[in-house]
C-alpha cells in the first residue's frame, strides 16, 4: 500500500484524516462529504477506491452503503506513522 500515492488525492487524504480522527464513525458518502466539505461525486469515487485498497470497510444493504475505518491494526499503524511524519495536526 503506497500511502504517498494515496495521499496525493486531496479527497482521499481528507477522508483518511477524517476516519483516522473519528475511528468509530460509520457514515454514508453524503455524510462524509459534509464532514470533509467536498463534492459528493468526488467523495463517492474516493470512498470506493479506499474500500478497494482496504483502508475502509463497506457495510452494504439494498438501500444504504455505510463506510467505516479498517480494523486492521497494521494499516492503522502505518497511517498513524505517515500522518505524524507528514502532517502537523
Amino acid at each position: 500500500m503506497n500511502l504517498s500515492k494515496i495521499f496525493l488525492s486531496s479527497v482521499q487524504k481528507k477522508i483518511i484524516l477524517f476516519f483516522h480522527k473519528n475511528q468509530s464513525s460509520i457514515d454514508t458518502a453524503r455524510g462524509i462529504s459534509t464532514w470533509i466539505d467536498s463534492d459528493l461525486k468526488d467523495v463517492e469515487i474516493a470512498l470506493k477506491e479506499l474500500a478497494r485498497i482496504g483502508i475502509l470497510v463497506v457495510h452494504k444493504t439494498s438501500s444504504t452503503i455505510g463506510y467505516a475505518y479498517t480494523q486492521n491494526k497494521r494499516i492503522i499503524t502505518n497511517i498513524e506513522n505517515y500522518i505524524k511524519a507528514n502532517f502537523k495536526l
Binding site: S24, S25, W35, H59, T61, G66
Partner: protein
C-alpha cells in the same frame, strides 16, 4: 490560575491582524509607544507592582522617574482591575500611558498596557482606543466561542450520524440470519472492539443461544450456549443490567423483557472500555431490539403464510386425486434449482408460493380426463390448457400471492414460444416459470401415468438435455444438470424413483 480559554484568548490576541493594525494606527497617533499584553493571574496572584517594574525596566528611566512611574502605573492597574474599564496614567512631565482591561462580563482576563505616549490624551482619543480595542476583543471572543461550539457540536454530530447510518443498515433487512451478524459487525466497528457476540434467550431451554460471534481476526468462531444466570452474559440476562469491565461490556437486549444479550470484548487499541462506550452499546442495543423483533415477527408471519398456502394446496390436491399431484420433493427441487441460479431471496419466496399452488386450476378438470389411458382429444387438451389461468383466478384474491401469479400462469410456456396460454418466449417467461417447467417435466417423466410407463432416471435426464433451447431454457437446464451431477436430484426424488422401479 490560567485556564485554557484565557491562554487561547491571549494567543489569538497576539496573532490577530486587526490588533497589529491597531498598534500601527495608534503608534502614528501616539508616536512610537511601548505595547505589552499581560494575563491576569487571579486576585490572589495579581502583582501589579511586578508588572509595573517589568515595563519600566525596558524603558530607560532615571532612578527618580522609575519610582514615580512605577507607582502611577501601579495605581492605574489597580483602578483598571476594579472598574474593568480603560484607565490612563501620566509620568514624567509629558508622557502618558493607557491600561486597557481585557474582560468578559465580570471576568477579567488581562491587560493591554501602552506606555511612552508622548502626547496628551484627551477623552476622544481614549474613547477611540477603547472602541477599537473592544471591537478586536469581541471579534476574537466570537471566534473562540464558534471554535468551542464547533469542537463541542461536531463530534456529537458525527456520532449522531453514525447512529443514524447504523439504524439504516440494521433496518434494511428482515432476515434474522442476515440481521444479527450485521448488528454484531456494526457494533464491533463503532466500538472498535475485537469481538462482538449476540445471544438470544431460548425460554423453553432456559439458555442463551449464540446467534452471532464475530471476531476481527477470525470471522467465525465456535459458538457456545450459555445457561441463564451463569457467566457474564447469563447474569446480564437475569438482572437486565449492563456489566462494564475494562475489557468487556455486556448489555441486555430488552423488549418488555430481556430477549438476549450483546457483548463486546477488547478494544483494538487495548484501552479499557468507558462509560461512554457502554452508553453507545446501549443505544445500539435499543436499535437492535427493534430490528430483531421486526425480523422475528416477519419470520412468524412468513411461517403462517406458508402454512396457510400449504393447507390450501392440500385441500385443492384432495379435491383432484387423479390430477397427478407432485411429489413432496417437487417444491424442494424447484427451490434447489432456483438457488443454483442464485435467485434473490424475495424471488425464491414467490417461487415457493407458486410451486405450491400452480396446479390449483386443475380442480375444474374432470377426472375422466386424468384417468384417460389414451391420447387426449383437442377439446380435452383445450380444457387442460385452461388450468394456469384458472389457478390465477383462484389465487388472485390473496394479496400476498400476487407476485407469484406471473409464474403460475406461465409454468406451461415453452422456451421456443410454442407453449400456453400466451405463447411467451425465452426471457419473456418469468425465470420461476422456466424453472418449474424443467422440474415439472422431469418429475412427470419419471412417474407412471395411465397412458404410459415411467422413464428411468437416466432416460429422463437425456430427454431434458435434448429439449434444452426448445421446451426448456438452456440456463435452467444447465443448473438442473449440475444438481443431477451432484446427486441432489436423485436424493430429492428418491421416493418417486424407487417407488416406480418397484
Amino acid at each position: 490560575m490560567q485556564d485554557e480559554y484565557q491562554i487561547e484568548l491571549f494567543k489569538k490576541f497576539s496573532e490577530n491582524i486587526d490588533f497589529r493594525k491597531e498598534k500601527n494606527v495608534f503608534n502614528h497617533i501616539f508616536g512610537k509607544s511601548y505595547w505589552q499584553i499581560y494575563i491576569y493571574p487571579g486576585k490572589e496572584n495579581f502583582n501589579p507592582a511586578k508588572i509595573a517594574r517589568s515595563i519600566f525596566k525596558r524603558i530607560n528611566l532615571s532612578e527618580k522617574d522609575y519610582l514615580s512611574c512605577t507607582s502611577n502605573l501601579l495605581e492605574c492597574l489597580k483602578r483598571a482591575e476594579s472598574s474593568k474599564q480603560l484607565s490612563y496614567f501620566k509620568y514624567k512631565s509629558n508622557t502618558s500611558g493607557i491600561c486597557f482591561p481585557i474582560s468578559q462580563g465580570d471576568r477579567l482576563y488581562g491587560f493591554i498596557v501602552v506606555c511612552n505616549i508622548k502626547k496628551d490624551l484627551n477623552a476622544d482619543m481614549l474613547n477611540l482606543f477603547s472602541c477599537y480595542t473592544d471591537t478586536v476583543l469581541k471579534e476574537i471572543q466570537r471566534e473562540l466561542e464558534l471554535n468551542k461550539l464547533y469542537d463541542t457540536i461536531r463530534p456529537r454530530a458525527i456520532a449522531l450520524s453514525t447512529i443514524h447510518t447504523v439504524h439504516r443498515l440494521i433496518s434494511s433487512t428482515l432476515e434474522l440470519d442476515e440481521l444479527i451478524p450485521r448488528i454484531a459487525r456494526l457494533s464491533m466497528q463503532v466500538l472498535r472492539a475485537r469481538r462482538c457476540s449476540i445471544m438470544l434467550i431460548d425460554s423453553k431451554r432456559k439458555m442463551l443461544m449464540p446467534k452471532a460471534n464475530i471476531d476481527v481476526k477470525r470471522r467465525h468462531i465456535r459458538l457456545k450456549k450459555q445457561k441463564i444466570g451463569v457467566g457474564i452474559e447469563g447474569i446480564v440476562a437475569t438482572t437486565a443490567k449492563s456489566i462494564l469491565k475494562n475489557y468487556i461490556i455486556a448489555v441486555p437486549l430488552i423488549d418488555q423483557d430481556v430477549i438476549g444479550v450483546i457483548t463486546v470484548e477488547r478494544r483494538l487499541d487495548n484501552r479499557p472500555f468507558s462509560i461512554f462506550d457502554q452508553e453507545i452499546l446501549t443505544t445500539l442495543a435499543e436499535q437492535a431490539v427493534v430490528a430483531i423483533r421486526n425480523a422475528q415477527i416477519y419470520e412468524e408471519q412468513e411461517k403462517i403464510t406458508i402454512g396457510t398456502i400449504k393447507s390450501l394446496a392440500s385441500i385443492l390436491d384432495s379435491k383432484i386425486p387423479y390430477a397427478y399431484p407432485h411429489t413432496t420433493s417437487f417444491v424442494d427441487l424447484v427451490l434447489a434449482v432456483a438457488e443454483e441460479l442464485e435467485l434473490p431471496k424475495e424471488e425464491l419466496k414467490h417461487l415457493h408460493y407458486a410451486s405450491l399452488l400452480h396446479d390449483a386450476g386443475k380442480i375444474t378438470i374432470p377426472d375422466r380426463i386424468f384417468k384417460k389411458p389414451t391420447k387426449l382429444t383437442g377439446k380435452e387438451y383445450g380444457i387442460i390448457k385452461k388450468h394456469p389461468s384458472i389457478s390465477v383466478r383462484i389465487i388472485k384474491p390473496l394479496e400476498v400471492l400476487k407476485p407469484a401469479l406471473p409464474i403460475i400462469i406461465a409454468h406451461h410456456e415453452r422456451y421456443d414460444g410454442t407453449g400456453y396460454p400466451k405463447g411467451l418466449r425465452a426471457d419473456k417467461i418469468p425465470i420461476g416459470a422456466r424453472i418449474m417447467a424443467v422440474v415439472d417435466a422431469f418429475e412427470a417423466m419419471i412417474c407412471k401415468r395411465p397412458y404410459r410407463k415411467a422413464m428411468s432416471f437416466e432416460e429422463a435426464v437425456i430427454e431434458i438435455k435434448q429439449n434444452s433451447g426448445t421446451q426448456f431454457d438452456p440456463k435452467v437446464v444447465d443448473a438442473f444438470l449440475r444438481l443431477v451431477k451432484r446427486g441432489v436430484v436423485r436424493r430429492l426424488l428418491k421416493g418417486c424413483i424407487k417407488h416406480e422401479s418397484q
